[in-house]
Symmetry: D2
Subunit: 328 residues, 4 copies
């Protein structure tokens, strides 16, 4: 955003008013001493141009057209077959990293529902750094998960990993997940958008908020019923946690862009002992919900066992998050 | 941490138990097929070696000696002239970025106290990226701040910027602040430690948690009465916020290291409109308190005006944080 | 890598020998004073276990199995229809960001060949952050590029963006490119691998070297004839350059892993005025070649015009790089 | 930088000319369809405003005043007691991390001189992450180093760690080093500036180029005879190398700001096996010189042994760098 000054503006007075409005500004001039414009840093508070135009001495306020008009126009809630994400009630999504067997997902689904979550998560197609790691059970896992969800009154959220799987996944899922490694897989975004399903879009490991919203724009432009954003930790330099949970971005989406955003503290930290405090923090920052990994027997998990909550832990964490107490 | 296996260990069983304990492990061997050790990633849950030794097949658990024994042995609270940081009550520190005049600090101190904060913050010596920016009023500002704090029942926290100022600052401050740019200014850490004061140690922009704790160790080794850690945002790639608040590190300090840590959402975001949600998130993550910037007339502030809360906003934010409601 | 000490080892002597070998080591013990192991940091020089086993007091050297055996076993050169990348001669790939018209690619191809490059680059399918940006001309662009390449004795390198395009792209390309946003699009990697073509794999914006090599493993495991790695800049915090060229990674691939790696200074810097010095630096670090963007009329380019070299600049840069003079 | 358009400008024509000049531009408007300004990204090529004003339709070019006028006005060379850094000849600085004994520094100095380096490096006051690590021998080490340098026709570069040591260090050093952890220790910068010595300013681990230049401005404003910038690697997410050498920043300082900059590949990589390729790459990117760590017996080094070149390696590396061949 750029503020253009009137020729007779009192530069100091204008600057004072802009700073008072929460803007980080830099004076610009053409080499002469007269300041003709102020540039506004992107880390400034969100302010309406109309408010700035009321400041005496401000001639015009110019900015780029939004690059994501559909995102801007989208509502702050997304309906996932009757479960509203972004509304008054917090939404919880839980389940194992991967769907490993019918009995596993049945048992987990029952616990997930009992603990008060509304969505069952679980991977049928798994993105794995190594070609030799377990890649998911595919279609049969989708069937198991769907059945387990239905039996427990849950919605299904699961990832579509490749373009070829999109139709299949959309058939079984109430909410189609885009994984962080695919946030800028534009062919996949288009294919998923075309299914008309609501989508949960995980942020890529080093995506800016703008890039994240542009990925949402791809989905909406191609037909997605709505987009829920999921912050799951970005790449950081300190390996004391698996990833770096960026709650500033969550607050920005929730409070400035008014979009539904959830946090995934399991992937963000990789540490079971930090899942609860970071889930609470995510909700406090403005998240509409939390996605949690839980497993009946994490030691036998085919992926991400160390970060999956044990059954008893999971119940405690859910109870704490649902009570929403500040001590939580 | 490395787990050494007994010669007859069942590798799979041991691995399962380690994963179940929340550890990310990698099998190690000498080129033969037999796994003799597991290495444990730093992003694993904290687990006691004694618990691991009970797993059948674990021969020994080896790890480096702690590099910061004094930090490890320090209590989870720090007493700042009667105000306990890290205890049952949340602590709030507030004030302007810089002490600009006697009347300014008097007015702010009254509001800070009225809103329920316990410490008055304000800079007499300011670290500024540019040599041409306001560098602080020095000793006279310390006197003004001390008087304003006393008049309102507040404690004083202020930064010691150079070794030459340490004695002077320690005379006026109840809590001596080390700024993020000085976190590894070891000469300064030693000088401040020698004053015997409690210290608030801001994390450097790209410091790992380990480096932060080692800086605390310098302070304690040289005599500091206690160290409060302050997360004020690290450097990130996305300039939508001024810095990147790392609440994973806050949770780690609070819940694993059991150390008193506070968050500074003003510097972390640079955005007045995100201060409240990130302050709440910080407390939810485990912070013992919050440091806030507020100014009676941010437009006239000599530094960081855009992120300083306006008087009315400040009162609202404080009320919300003190009520501690989850809806806050 | 972990070094296990013999029970009677002289710890200091062993440590000295390990440090002398270029290893960053940390002493590990079980809580008693006796050091039983040393852990070796990943940032250490590459050393053979057999050399370490000769040090008196070293009982064993254990490490994880390589996660990318096919990468490890692959030769240091890749043949792209007769052009050897990674051999004695440096390889240059040049062309526009996108193939925009037949006349454009004809003109550029002629210049590229005249300047001494061996491969023609150009996008038919373009990954764009915005759904409203030019997405490439698709198949017709592949035909134009193929014809232009043939007419000038060049090989074709072009990106396969979606799984559905892979077969088509492989038909026209001598070297199939995986873009940085797709480095961990595992479905795409598998599909491209299955074509049996050699592949140029761009590093993702925040991929570690290990993740990059694992993506290469996916390609090889599924049939790729060979993998050339391309460093195009990672995400950094300083926006003075578009991206951050990581020549430490290039040196690591070239000199430790003995893999063919090329650099793309156009994307790395985004600045035409820094392309030449960074291309030189990439070659000096061990790159087997350079990929350059050039356009006949950058002002009219449909993407990335600001970083495309002008015709005259391009010839100068190529001449400088091919002469390989130190002043270059 | 902002470009203001004339009311009757042909927006497309202006944009084309700006892109052709190497600028990344974004159209700005006040909500109406008319574009009144273009903003120019910081990652654009450096272009003179006078050149842009010649484009038909450009009304004015506005930008912030430089924040570092003394840096901008400083020459591209710095004289270190007769050794010119930034001129036609490359400059080499070498020595141990720390000065450990008189005999050590005597031996190293002789080798350093024999290999053709002009400056002897070595620490008398050492910044160490841990308070329990070797902190340097202090004044006596300065005396040893001075004597060793004189005996071999070398200049001395060494770090001033604390304000209290500045006068002493300046007495013995020809070039006073500011370490990366102190780049924004403004009290120290002022004290060192006041000695009137030339200074070598290491970049902080997460400093932007702008912050680095502003630190240089502090030094010059307070009297430094000149500033040589040293890139020693920034903090990165991949621990395959100790730090991340940012040669884009080196090229920027050398080719756009025309400032003398040297690279320190020893700290940048931490890996002896990558020192040579990255030293070469640094020179190719525009560095005026290289700083190298070497030790007669790295296994016994009191700090940073793993990255110090062995005597024979050092001679080979120096020969290769001095020959300056592209194959080097």
């Amino acid at each position: 955003m750029i503020i253009q000054l009137a020729p007779d503006a009192d530069t100091d007075l204008v600057k004072r008013a802009l700073v008072a409005a929460g803007l980080w500004v830099t004076a610009l001039h053409d080499g002469s001493r007269r300041v003709s414009h102020f540039s506004v840093s992107s880390a400034s508070s969100a302010v309406e141009a109309t408010d700035l135009l009321r400041i005496p001495g401000v001639a015009s306020v110019v900015s780029p057209a939004s690059a994501h008009p559909r995102v801007d126009a989208s509502p702050s809630t997304v309906d996932v077959r009757g479960v509203v994400v972004g509304g008054a009630s917090r939404v919880f999504m839980a389940g194992p990293c991967a769907v490993e067997s019918e009995s596993q997902i049945d048992a987990v689904a029952a616990r997930v529902a009992a603990a008060g979550a509304q969505l069952l998560r679980g991977g049928a197609f798994k993105p794995r750094s190594s070609p030799y790691a377990f890649q998911g059970h595919g279609e049969v896992a989708l069937r198991w998960m769907r059945r387990a969800a239905e039996a427990n009154g849950l919605r299904v959220v699961t990832e579509a990993l490749g373009e070829a799987d999109v139709t299949l996944v959309a058939e079984y899922a109430d909410l189609v997940q885009v994984g962080s490694r695919n946030m800028q897989n534009f062919s996949l975004l288009k294919a998923i958008g075309r299914t008309g399903r609501p989508v949960m879009l995980k942020r890529a490991m080093s995506a800016t908020v703008d890039e994240w919203l542009l990925a949402g724009e791809y989905l909406l432009e191609h037909g997605a019923a709505g987009v829920i954003y999921c912050e799951r930790g970005i790449r950081g330099f300190d390996h004391a946690t698996r990833n770096l949970l960026d709650l500033g971005a969550v607050a920005l989406l929730a409070h400035v862009h008014h979009l539904p955003v959830v946090v995934d503290p399991s992937h963000a930290t990789g540490r079971r002992d930090l899942v609860l405090p970071l889930a609470r923090a995510g909700l406090a920052a403005g998240a509409a919900g939390v996605m949690l990994e839980t497993h009946d027997d994490p030691g036998r998990a085919l992926s991400d066992g160390p970060q999956a909550l044990m059954p008893a832990e999971f119940s405690t964490v859910m109870a704490s998050l649902r009570s929403g107490s500040a001590e939580a």
